[in-house]
Symmetry: D2
């Protein structure tokens, strides 16, 4: 077996620590080469638990041994870290979003292109076995030409208002995953968006300048039409469904259940709840996206989630925001 | 037991003949009092099979014995027949649409109001046990305040182009059921519509001036947002689903299966196809709407599907058409 | 279209009246030629409702016009009526069981053979679309050689004790359907039985000399092993499942639901109850068995449920009873 | 947080290595204190991968630091290791079966009792979330008094004939899990067994003196009757289902799917395959049984799977074997 891919984890907050632990324990053929965080104790805790080097500075981390980096620092630093890692010749896994600023995104992608390194964006839902089976079926032609896509994406409960205030709004924070999913399952870019929504869950979300319920229509290059709905609060759980209707059939990923047990009483039949939230629901996808990264690194093949895939949803989100504000369909080429 | 409700069936084409047979054979407490059709042999055939009087003229049919009429004549005659039946003091079951002209609809409803007779519109899908269970759950407050409604309504195959040409367009012909369904399951009127669509199934449908794929967003008075999708051709069958997401949960009616048999082989698990089309899928609803008519007649209570319920989808359809043509959201009060 | 098959209904108790109504209203190509019951008012009521001749005696009924008879008289008269109908050259539909006495059964079948008329036994469950799909898949070889059959058959509530006392015991009254189902879905005779059971539902059933819970193992000629379980009371409803496991897969018919609506709340997912009891659950099968009878009559082909099919479960039931009493496996050839 | 529970893994074959890796990587609050195997290279490989001490002898392993042991040596050494570990005062996790010899089992359990240490037997299926939900519902009284239990347990493919030859026969090798499951979900001991079976999968299994298809009936102390079916080869996958029918309802664990994606085409609806075999199907249960062990160790509470639970299925298996050979029901007290 070949040597493991040595991955330095940059940023060890909640999501970075999760990546470090996954790489160390669940990913065959990869190891954590070291960790760094601007908040040193966070890095030290992860380093101690996994028994790996802890770096004091980003520069030191990029000078240490390693093949690749996992960028899980705060969003506003992603591009600078990406540029430094690209210059250091490291393959790059970068958490989404690359940046909230398109010009910044472009600067980051340019650095990656120039260095010729692998870049994979952390749209983990693409690796969910159920959603992936949808995309694979479409790509294989099993349902023919895609015509109508339905995506339901609802959280079990809203984040704190303090988070809402800095989230960039529901389209950038929540629907961004669905914008990516629509491109992924259809294999086609989005050309126009119509977004609407309302404050139906919590007036405090409205007071913070956001909405908590959204319904979006999108037109794809290949003629397909996508409809997405979002809510910040589904009391029955994290509702994540994707379906593609095409000229030859329908393929749909439904919600999994915590168990496969049913109860029949005189009241009817009852099944189990769904996995609570993204950590539980998408656990496998977090593992599988790292396996895909390792495979792409080794093969030198194309990134499974490219920089372009990271950029597109950001632009769609901007168009969606304008559409919502102006209550009219907005073409992507108005924005970009 | 009380005497049966005597129902004269006016119009004995395919749907009228179906109603006559249902009333005669499946509806307890009702009987066919006689039949009439402008095409006399059609009426004679049904009359002979059921052993009931056949009338030569509408006037004769309304002078014969009877408590109620079933209006299943051609759409352009509905209002005139409705006016005559109302004047004759008959309770009225009228097939949808009442008319394609709002002024005509209003004239018909005025005659009914003046006569004070029962009027029930043939939106049979409201009586489908699965969709009804959705509406009942919402009405009972089981899912809290409705927030997002999703309706999927796809036909197994397109009608002949000759039919498309006179259908009034997909919104009036096909989506009209979904406009009604959205009002029914939310219990709330529609205030604005955004409709889009495309020709993805058959270019001949486009050549006939119509579209075959539609996605519609609607805003309700109570704040709920409905999204509908339609296709003239789902190769896997007649896809009819309704779901209401609310503050306290989700209630959804999925497609039934022809049988409850599954097959497991090395390829996976396979279930049965769906009932073919509306006659098979909605058989029970056709029976149940007559039971509801008989019950309303006997109790003197409110109509389960009122004239107002018959009128509203027509106006929504007009707004949808304008929205599609002008590619912008259209408020109902622009139309009506 | 050819002339309708004229069927005289003999015995118009609950089940006979149901057959008469089905034939008159739901079966294309058949009509009720007349009715007879030893209790004249019962026959008159059905005759009046359907507008068909009422006969005072069995002899008169068999002398009247007609092609076939439906024998729905009391079980102890089945054989005598069958013999008379056979002599009259009528095709015969006979409710199950033919008789509780094997010698009597043989006498009846001999008369039918001699007359060369069609005989179909009323094992309606064979015509249930879901169970039939199981049998069809096995017959088509889709699941390979049958190896293990599982049949669950549980009633929603026990019959009155007065019924239990004259029922002939759970094996003859309830399991007899499952004995037939096992033969039907495997296409293979039973050679040995092991039956056990207990009184777990109601001590009064035990006091009446019967059991209310049974588990039966059966060995088939083709090597398959069937396991059946019965209960007189499943509080969640009429539980009717059949599955055949074979060398190439598994085919299973599960319980249908009253509707296809599900509810998701914070407690999980809830589906609907099952159809209440045999009239609701097996409604379609009652229609389809008459269609099959008409088709066999017209084609002159083999009976879909032959006299031999009517006799076999009776013998299996006798073996099961002995097995239960002696707590040991009993071979069919010990009995027959 | 308290110190981790230090677990020495004895035996590092396939299953022992799996336990070592789980403890090291997936179990919070536990760590691998060291490893030992009679085949030194096996222990060294695991020790090197996990970075833990490797012991040359059992004695050394039990003298090293540690709180508990995982016994995953060959079955015939289980009891001797258990006795040594008990004398050393270690809490014990022991793979099933404790031994194939009841006297040996009793000797091992006596040593554990005398030392007063925790003993947990590796019946991991009890920790499967779906089966556990069945047992929990029964224990909570949700389905009332258990009356009929159905267990289906079929492997995706037979093991090599060389394995069959030393397996102890299908009842001890395969059904033993189901004997345990029946006791677990009913909470009641087994008093009598009737076992039958056949060679339907592969004649070579018959030539090796075993059967490959089995159907077992069992009577429980509390009156419930269990029926189990086994096959060495279900071509559609690892079929693992458990259901308990009781006076107040039915609770059932069905097979999970690899994903929650369905495909609808003109042929019907297709779902995914099941997890391949026990490693995939029962992955979570392997994790959860260690969490339960750690919890029991810390709390000093009762073992979730006691020595008595380890012994009972062995005796039931002996009774089943005799029942099969003598073709009659066999009471447990004939054996034990």
């Amino acid at each position: 077996m070949s040597d493991p891919v040595r991955i330095t984890v940059l940023g060890t907050g909640r999501i970075g620590a999760m990546h470090a632990e996954l790489i160390a324990r669940r990913i065959d053929g990869a190891e954590v080469a070291g960790v760094f965080d601007v908040h040193a104790p966070a890095a030290q805790a992860v380093g101690a638990e996994l028994g790996v080097p802890v770096y004091d500075t980003l520069e030191a981390a990029l000078e240490g041994p390693g093949d690749a980096v996992c960028i899980a620092t705060s969003t506003d630093t992603h591009v600078a870290v990406m540029q430094a890692a690209a210059r250091a010749g490291r393959a790059i896994f970068c958490e989404k979003p690359i940046s909230l600023d398109v010009a910044q995104v472009d600067a980051g992608l340019a650095a990656v292109d120039e260095a010729g390194v692998l870049l994979q964006i952390g749209f983990n839902r693409r690796f969910d076995p159920s959603h992936k089976a949808v995309a694979d079926a479409v790509a294989a032609g099993t349902v023919g030409a895609p015509q109508i896509v339905r995506i339901t994406s609802r959280d079990p409960e809203p984040p704190p208002i303090s988070y809402i205030e800095v989230s960039g709004g529901i389209f950038n924070d929540m629907t961004i995953h669905d914008f990516d999913m629509a491109r992924y399952v259809t294999g086609s870019d989005v050309v126009e968006v119509f977004a609407t929504g309302a404050v139906l869950v919590d007036p405090a979300i409205g007071a913070a300048g956001d909405i908590d319920t959204a319904v979006i229509t999108m037109w794809h290059e290949n003629g397909a039409i996508t409809t997405i709905d979002n809510s910040r609060q589904a009391v029955y759980g994290y509702d994540q469904r994707v379906e593609v209707f095409g000229s030859a059939g329908l393929v749909a990923s439904d919600n999994p259940s915590v168990n496969s047990t049913t109860l029949r009483t005189s009241s009817g039949i009852t099944g189990s709840v769904m996995p609570y939230f993204f950590i539980e629901r998408y656990e496998q996808s977090y593992v599988d996206q790292w396996d895909a990264f390792v495979a792409a690194f080794r093969s030198g093949g194309a990134s499974p989630v490219s920089g372009r895939d990271g950029r597109a949803p950001l632009v769609i989100g901007m168009a969606a925001k304008r559409s919502f504000e102006e209550h009219r369909p907005v073409r992507i080429d108005e924005i970009d």
